[in-house]
């Protein structure tokens, strides 16, 4: 019970601060009720008309009937449109709240998670936010309609209604069973689908390997098993829907027997007219539908819960601490002191101490997994150290305002991410002042992009494409360099900025980088000596620790790793 309350609280929190369309929710509820009233009305009218035909046609009833049908059409339109509007509005609210949250979460939160899962939180999962409201509104409507139908049945004949009540528990149990079966079938389907999808996504990416390894036939066999599993799972769905049909049909046969066997004597004795008996029969069917509907809500809720739980996890996560004193001191050395840090269980940095001298070029070298990129993340304050501290001069960096701290850094990394939009938008990304065309051109020339941007149709207003795909790797990197220049940062972090480029592009990028580095404190992660040659200060890392630190000359004498690194240049 306590757990339930906790859960409920969790779900309510999702909507805290979201502006909900309460008025429209009420309107939708009312429309749903009117809809169910009209449905009932049309049934009783049909009963009246058939009754009437015994003697003569009741034209007035016929007109009523037509009016009710037309009313149903109009109300049906209104209910679809308005309910969708309301539900989409709720989704919108939650999506915005989620987005807001994502912007302010610490990097730790999404670093481990793959981008795709987060994307589906914002897009797919958020589009289910309305589900609780949907279920509640439908629940009220269903209860209302069930009560009204029951009342109408009682009006026709209390005795018959009494007999009918024997069938109600059966319907309830059935509805519950279907809900369960549906849920299981849906789950099985989803599991087998994602297995097959995962398999196919992986294989279609590297068909070459299959061919080179001559595994065509074996892969066909593997896929066969997966496709067969998918088939078996989908049979659950077939089973659940067809078994629901037979049960419903049997039930309606049972209620037919009850109605007509009991009702027959009542008609003979004049307690009820035939038309009313038929009406009773139809309405009892409507009651059954409503009851089954009630039972199905359980499954819907459960499905929604899964998604909402993930959303509420994100919404409940603590945000980045952003406040502090603005960073207005002149450049200082950055000093790490006994810093330890770990992602989950894995220790990434242990007892790390180093100095980054202001105005100099510092290079961090070491093999993969030595902790170089983690150092960058700590410098940018994407993470805070678990132990020890990073100081700016004498001040712990944590005491500075986060935005002003990050704004004094620019990072250029090998994955050169651009965002879709124009070249201009990318260069000016994050710049909060007005930038003149002259300045833009000047920066573009320094970053070596002016010529090829001008040669592109649209120039600075050309679209870069998703992830910058309209430009080559080297060009993307140079645009990223122009973007960094535009921010005019005091500190520059280069994460293998020239790797994965061919010789020609590398030359272009190196030149641009040189212009960027002029007059700034630079920290670079490098894998080859040529990038390190100009460094004033070297930090050698190994297995999450600093192995050595010093000038190139010092290290040449004292450090084996650096010596190999430098001499391999051959």
């Amino acid at each position: 019970m306590k757990k339930l309350k906790q859960r409920f609280g969790q779900y309510v929190r999702i909507f805290k601060g979201v502006k909900l369309p309460w008025v429209m929710l009420v309107v939708v509820l009312l429309i749903y009720i009117v809809e169910s009233e009209l449905q009932l009305k049309s049934t009783t009218l049909t009963a009246d008309i058939i009754d009437g035909t015994q003697q003569a046609i009741r034209l007035d009833k016929l007109v009523d009937f037509i009016l009710v049908m037309l009313g149903t059409a109009v109300v049906g339109f209104a209910s679809t449109y308005l309910s969708n509007w309301t539900y989409q509005k709720i989704n919108l609210g939650v999506r915005n709240k989620l987005w807001n949250k994502l912007m302010h979460l610490p990097a730790r939160y999404y670093d481990g998670e793959s981008g795709d899962t987060l994307v589906s939180r914002v897009t797919t999962d958020a589009s289910q936010s309305y589900i609780y409201f949907h279920v509640v509104i439908n629940l009220i409507t269903a209860v209302y309609a069930a009560v009204v139908a029951l009342r109408q049945m009682l009006k026709y004949s209390p005795v018959l209604t009494g007999y009918m009540m024997f069938i109600v528990p059966v319907i309830a149990v059935m509805g519950w069973g279907f809900g369960k079966l549906n849920f299981i079938a849906g789950k099985k389907n989803q599991v087998s689908f994602s297995q097959a999808l995962g398999y196919l996504v992986e294989r279609t990416r590297n068909l070459r390997l299959i061919k080179a390894a001559r595994m065509e036939y074996a892969e066909q066999q593997t896929a066969k098993v997966l496709f067969h599993n998918q088939f078996k799972a989908s049979i659950w769905g077939v089973f659940s829907s067809s078994s629901s049909v037979i049960l419903i049909e049997l039930l309606s046969a049972a209620s037919m027997i009850v109605t007509f066997v009991v009702g027959r004597n009542m008609v003979t004795s004049g307690e009820i007219t035939i038309g009313k008996l038929l009406g009773f029969y139809t309405i009892s069917g409507m009651l059954a539908v409503r009851l089954i509907q009630l039972m199905l809500f359980y499954g819907q809720l459960k499905q929604g819960n899964g998604r909402m739980e993930k959303i509420s996890e994100i919404l409940d996560a603590p945000e980045e601490k952003r406040d502090g004193t603005p960073l207005d001191i002149a450049d200082c050395d950055i000093i790490a002191e006994d810093v330890a840090f770990s992602y989950d269980a894995r220790a990434a940095l242990q007892d790390v101490s180093f100095r980054i001298p202001k105005g100099k070029i510092t290079a961090i070298i070491g093999s993969n997994g030595a902790g170089k990129s983690t150092v960058f993340k700590l410098l940018e304050r994407m993470y805070d150290p678990a132990e020890g501290q990073i100081r700016f001069g004498d001040t712990d960096v944590r005491s500075f305002e986060l935005t002003s701290w990050r704004q004094s850094f620019a990072i250029v990394s090998q994955d050169k991410p651009l965002l879709s939009g124009t070249v201009r938008e990318n260069i000016l990304y994050g710049v909060r002042r007005k930038v003149s065309d002259e300045e833009l051109e000047h920066v573009a020339k320094l970053a070596n992009i002016f010529d090829f941007v001008m040669a592109t149709p649209g120039g600075f207003d050309a679209q870069v494409g998703v992830n910058g795909s309209n430009f080559s790797g080297g060009q993307r990197q140079c645009i990223a360099i122009a973007r960094a220049m535009m921010r005019n940062p005091d500190y520059l972090l280069l994460d293998e900025a020239t790797s994965n480029l061919d010789a020609k592009s590398e030359q272009m990028v190196s030149q641009a980088l040189k212009n960027l580095m002029a007059g700034r404190t630079t920290v670079m992660i490098a894998h080859n000596y040529s990038a390190v040659r100009d460094a004033d200060h070297i930090i050698v890392m190994k297995d999450g620790k600093v192995e050595a630190e010093g000038t190139p000359d010092e290290l040449m004498q004292t450090n084996e790793y650096y010596r190999t690194f430098a001499t391999k240049a051959g």
Binding site: T53, Q54, M69, T72, A73, G76, F77, Y81, Q88, L92, R95, N96, M103, L118, V119, L197, G198, L200, V201, E202, T204, R205, N206, L207, R208, L209, K211, A212, A213, R214, E216, F227, H228, Q230, F231, I235, G237, V238, S242, V245, I246, E249, F260, R264, G275, L278, S367, N368, M382, P417, L419, Y429, L501, D502, E506, N528, Y529, F565, K568, A569
Partner: protein
């Protein structure tokens, strides 16, 4: 956006038949489903006549009994019908998937390269699902449905021919509504879904680049962007709703009109005494099912048109040029497969182009068995193309690629590719246990000792031991849970176990950092001593020890010889050595 004209011309019908002809339809199940469907329709036909007397107020024993028996038997039959129809359709989907994927694994590389993996994946998953299901259910239900319509009409015609008229009269209106509104609906929705796709893509891109947003402190700006995108998404969804609710509104109004016509006719005939009350009730029930059947038929017709694109894609993949299988190759040659004796490789005046783009021009060279050859050159100079031709991922345009004294074209794919070990730039491994990765593509029993030995030689044994379940530890999709060096070492161990004579390496260390790369390179040379090795590399320092180096430029072989020879004889090589100075470079 260009609108594709939607008219089911003869070509499209052929597309449907071609698809159906290719997917191993479960004929037995279809036949059974067809029979059941027919029985179901027959029973449905007797619904109005068996229940009419009860519904029109007769309380005779027989009327009640008939109705109850009818409902029970109807329930049973409809359940069987649903189960069998559903199962048959899904069986067909499964078979079609097997077939399509089978074709895809044998598809020729040129076709593969011109399609994104996502397209291929969705061809197997989404495209097939809907289209095959629809086509097969149409195959089963179309005739019984027409039979039902005909018989129902005939029955009510027996009551009075005017009744038939009242049912038929509103149908053209209904047809027009469905075609016109349906088309409008389809078109608008397509536009809207495209918009939704763009917006979703926008949000996705930002979410994937959250670190960038933090680095640039653009949280507030992106917050606004995201809000605008969500707002647009809301609007797009609403336009979709508007369109669909207007369509359904129009449809409801027409239904009402239909009912009015039917009631009007019925009531008049009833008053004139041309039909009696139970016939009126039976007619009323028939009219409802007839129009719903008609709607279903037209809907299916519409959906058939809308799946044309999907069907075309599936058919395209199925009919795409495929590589011969071993058996086919043998049958075609009518002889025992030729076998290349030595592991000597020769290119004789080979030219090749990808479509318009010339990739190799008149390239000739020989690589003696057991020697080590390096291939260098700028990006796009044709280095990888040479490996592609050796593996016959592509066929040489002009000239011959020889293995020993045999043209590779005359060898079966399986035999040819069995001769190579192929190591890609970005180590290719599929998810699975370490053991599965190591034995991928190896067609003999490999003992645990042998596995361990290979892993040790490749320098993979140490980290395998640190994994929780050793050789049985699962490695996640794309081998992401391993570092690049570890993955590459697994690949080397696998290729070592394969024991092929020729080793093809396409920048095997370019994704690794310098020290790891060096270690992996050393492993390669010591492990595969004595084999014929062909290695594409950008690392000039590796070339010192090679027996021979090929220098490529713009698809032409501009230098061939040892390091020293080329240093004096090949200007491009000299320039590369000077400018590179041990930089790692790839074609990225």
């Amino acid at each position: 956006m260009k609108q594709k004209k939607v008219s089911p011309g003869a070509g499209n019908w052929r597309g449907f038949f071609r698809l159906l002809g290719k997917i191993d339809l479960p004929w037995l199940a279809i036949a059974v489903a067809f029979v059941v469907e027919t029985v179901y329709n027959q029973i449905l036909l007797s619904l109005p006549t068996t229940t009419a007397s009860l519904m029109s107020g007769s309380l005779e024993d027989s009327a009640l009994r008939d109705a109850v028996i009818y409902y029970i038997s109807y329930g049973v039959v409809v359940t069987i019908e649903m189960a069998i129809l559903g199962t048959t359709c899904r069986l067909a989907v499964r078979n079609a998937r097997n077939k399509l994927w089978g074709g895809m694994t044998r598809i020729r590389m040129d076709y593969y390269d011109s399609h994104t993996p996502a397209e291929l994946t969705s061809a197997v998953t989404n495209d097939l699902e809907e289209s095959v299901r629809l086509l097969v259910s149409m195959m089963i239900a179309l005739l019984p449905s027409l039979y039902y319509l005909g018989s129902a009409m005939a029955t009510i015609a027996e009551y009075d021919w005017l009744l038939v008229l009242s049912v038929l009269l509103p149908l053209p209106l209904r047809y027009i509504e469905m075609v016109v509104v349906g088309r409008w609906n389809y078109r608008t929705q397509a536009g809207i879904y495209q918009r939704i796709g763009v917006l979703t893509g926008y949000l996705a891109e930002r979410v994937k680049n959250l670190s960038l947003i933090k680095q640039f402190c653009t949280e507030e700006q992106e917050l606004e962007n995201g809000k605008t995108a969500s707002e647009d998404l809301f609007k797009a969804n609403m336009s979709a709703t508007k369109v669909s609710s207007i369509s359904s509104g129009v449809s409801t109004v027409i239904t009402v009109f239909q009912q009015i016509v039917i009631v009007f006719f019925g009531v008049i005939l009833l008053q004139n005494g041309r039909i009696d009350i139970s016939e009126w009730v039976a007619f009323f029930m028939f009219s409802a099912t007839i129009s719903s059947r008609f709607i279903t038929l037209v809907q299916n017709w519409q959906s058939l048109k809308s799946i044309q694109g999907q069907v075309a894609r599936a058919v395209e993949v199925m009919e795409a040029p495929q590589e011969q299988t071993e058996q086919e190759a043998k049958a075609a040659a009518g002889q025992a497969p030729t076998s290349a004796s030595a592991a000597e490789i020769a290119f004789e005046n080979v030219s090749f182009s990808y479509g318009e783009k010339q990739a190799l021009q008149n390239v000739s060279f020989t690589i003696p068995a057991g020697s080590i050859t390096g291939i260098v050159g700028l990006c796009g100079s044709g280095k990888t193309t040479m490996l592609n031709l050796l593996e016959r991922f592509y066929e040489a345009g002009k000239g011959k690629v020889m293995l020993g004294d045999t043209d590779v074209k005359t060898m079966s794919f399986s035999e040819l590719r069995g001769k190579y070990s192929y190591v890609q730039q970005d180590a290719g491994v599929f998810s699975g246990t370490v053991k599965e990765i190591l034995t991928y593509g190896i067609r003999r029993q490999v003992s645990d000792e042998e596995l361990t030995a290979a892993a040790q030689r490749a320098g993979a044994w140490d980290f395998i031991q640190t994994l929780p379940a050793g050789m049985e530890s699962p490695i996640a999709a794309d081998g992401q849970s391993l570092s690049g060096g570890q993955r590459q070492r697994l690949v080397l161990a696998r290729e070592f176990l394969r024991g092929a004579d020729i080793l093809l390496l396409d920048e095997p260390t370019s994704a690794l950092d310098a020290s790891t790369a060096q270690a992996v390179e050393q492993t390669i040379f010591s492990m595969f001593r004595g084999k014929t090795v062909l290695m594409i590399t950008h690392d000039m320092s590796l070339l010192h020890d090679m027996d021979q180096i090929l220098v490529m430029k713009d698809g032409e072989l501009v230098g061939q010889g040892t390091y020293e020879q080329l240093l004096t004889g090949c200007p491009l090589f000299r320039e590369m050595v000077r400018s590179q100075q041990n930089k790692e470079v790839t074609c990225g």
